[in-house]
């Protein structure tokens, strides 16, 4: 079993087609929608946590890409600008998954992008604006 968090970008001509549901039906994958949005120019963005057998996952992603949808691992998308982070800890109050947590000895704030579900709550809460979105 593998579990991957991915960001899917749908071109506008694909937004109205049932692509993702096929992952369940034809590729035996489970998914959890972490975020979904359609921009004014009708490009779709979907952040999924996908669970299944590795071979199924690979075939499923191949199918998705074949539909003209780009697939990116989520961990690349919410990043911390290390230069700007002051380790204040304001983000700890809003992070739902403890992707942002404090080392209680140094009181530095750690960012674990594996745990991040890209809810983006930290992005606006961060006082020095160190949390950045790179979709």
């Amino acid at each position: 079993m593998v579990r991957h968090k991915v960001v899917l970008h749908f071109p506008h001509e694909q937004v109205d087609k049932p692509i993702v549901s096929k992952l369940v039906r034809d590729y035996n994958l489970d998914f959890n929608i972490l975020k979904a949005s359609i921009t004014p120019r009708e490009e779709g963005l979907l952040v999924l946590e996908i669970t299944g057998e590795e071979a199924d996952y690979d075939r499923g992603m191949e199918y998705i890409r074949g539909c003209g949808v780009s697939v990116q691992p989520l961990s690349q998308d919410i990043r911390r600008n290390e230069e700007r982070c002051t380790h204040c800890g304001a983000c700890l109050a809003v992070c739902p998954t403890d992707a942002l947590s404090a080392d209680r000895t140094t009181m530095e704030v750690r960012f674990d992008d594996e745990e991040c579900v890209a809810c983006e709550l930290c992005v606006k809460v961060c006082p020095p604006r160190a949390m950045e979105i790179h979709y």
Partner: protein, 391 residues
């Protein structure tokens, strides 16, 4: 037998001074007792780094040709105060750039304000000046636009009316909706508790009765050197205190000044506070001369002994009711959760403890190398508990 600041400065000049941070002094006093520790240690360094709204900078722009009496001015579209002399301005840390939506789309993001402008200047970035005037016989110029950097202006001083609050509220939210405060985002029904103090490292909590800090105390300010020039606004020392003399409520404050040209954006950082406004995070470190046992006993205070009040920011704070829901220690706050009304509430700081430690270490290094001497206060700051000998 006490020491004087002059004696300590002689030891600093000879490279013999024993300098420790406010964290290190805790163990030294525990191990050796106050009497021996007071003999051995000369200086305790403290530090804090957090948003301090009551901050700003005086800048003398230098004269345009022809000369101009500036009536209104903007730097990077942030309005600056011009009601001083012809080309002196004051940048307020919380002033917002023109055309910011503020809270029209709630909660507003407040992306660029006076604090960001000060950070940009200190970082050496070019900023856009726009100024207008009504014209006089001696100052005929009516408009002026130019790009400038900190190096281009004649004088630039950080001058903060109120910094380094001695203790502060722990903010919670008793209501059933999310609120956006200067203490950060507070989730409903006691969903989280936010605090803002470096606790055992914080300057004014290590000299709770202002026995050493006064007008003329030389400090680490924004990465450079500054001075305490007065007590800060809202300075209030008539507050309840713990056994060691440290206030258990927000209490004293200081007003500070320093040359902006010697500062560093790492310790002077523009902050955007969701739904509230812009601010400036300021790094301050204050050296405490160990004059006697009393001074070192107070400086050895631990997070376990420092108490802060928990205040509801949905009704009690905005309405000014003065109600306090409970008291917690900084050790509890730093552990990641507190207990209140039988509920475990996660905590989050707004004050960076790791950067406070870095500041205390830097100041320690400056003093140990002999490149920073202690300022001799010309007058101590007002403090009822010291003056009346209550504690």
């Amino acid at each position: 037998m006490g020491k004087t600041i002059a004696e300590i400065n002689e030891r600093i000049k000879r490279g013999e001074a024993v300098v420790v941070t406010a964290e290190e002094v805790i163990g030294i006093v525990e191990e050796k007792g106050t009497a021996q520790a007071a003999r051995e240690v000369d200086v305790v360094t403290t530090g804090t780094f957090g948003p301090m709204c009551s901050s700003g900078a005086f800048v003398n722009l230098g004269h345009a040709q022809p000369r101009m009496k500036i009536h209104r001015a903007w730097l990077n579209e942030v309005p600056v105060f011009c009601g001083i002399a012809a080309v002196d301005i004051y940048i307020g840390a919380t002033e917002m750039a023109e055309h910011d939506p503020l809270n029209e789309v709630f909660p507003g993001e407040f992306r660029y304000g006076g604090g960001h402008l000060i950070e940009d200047l200190v970082a050496g970035k070019s900023v856009r000046l726009r100024a207008t005037s009504y014209g006089t016989d001696c100052y005929p110029n009516r408009s002026w636009e130019r790009d400038l950097t900190l190096a281009d202006v004649k004088e630039a001083w950080l001058f903060n009316p109120r910094n380094a609050y001695q203790n502060y509220n722990v903010a919670v939210n008793l209501s059933d909706r999310v609120i956006y405060t200067y203490m950060g985002v507070l989730r409903p029904n006691l969903g989280n508790a936010n605090y803002c103090s470096a606790g055992q490292l914080s300057p004014l909590l290590n000299d709770p009765l202002f026995r050493t800090i006064g007008i003329g105390t030389r400090i680490f300010l924004g990465g450079g050197v500054g001075y305490v020039v007065w007590h800060g606004t809202q300075h209030n020392t008539a507050v309840p205190r713990g056994p060691g003399g440290a206030p258990t409520r927000p209490a004293g404050t200081i007003s500070v000044i320093g040359d902006l040209k010697g500062m560093n954006p790492r310790y002077l950082t523009g902050y955007s506070i969701l739904g509230y406004g812009a601010s400036l995070a300021v790094g301050i470190g204050i050296p405490i001369p160990v004059l006697d046992e009393e001074v070192i006993r107070a400086a050895a205070v631990r997070d376990e002994d420092l108490v802060a009040p928990v205040v509801d920011y949905s009704i009690d704070y905005p309405q000014g009711t003065g109600r306090v829901l409970g008291e917690v220690t900084y050790a509890q706050l730093k552990s990641g959760s507190i207990d209140l009304e039988g509920k475990e509430i996660p905590t989050a700081p707004l004050s960076s403890y790791s950067r406070a430690r870095e500041i205390a270490e830097t100041l320690k290094d400056w003093i140990a190398r002999g490149r920073f001497l202690l300022g001799e206060p010309v007058e101590l700051l007002p403090c009822e508990a010291r003056e009346e000998g209550v504690v």
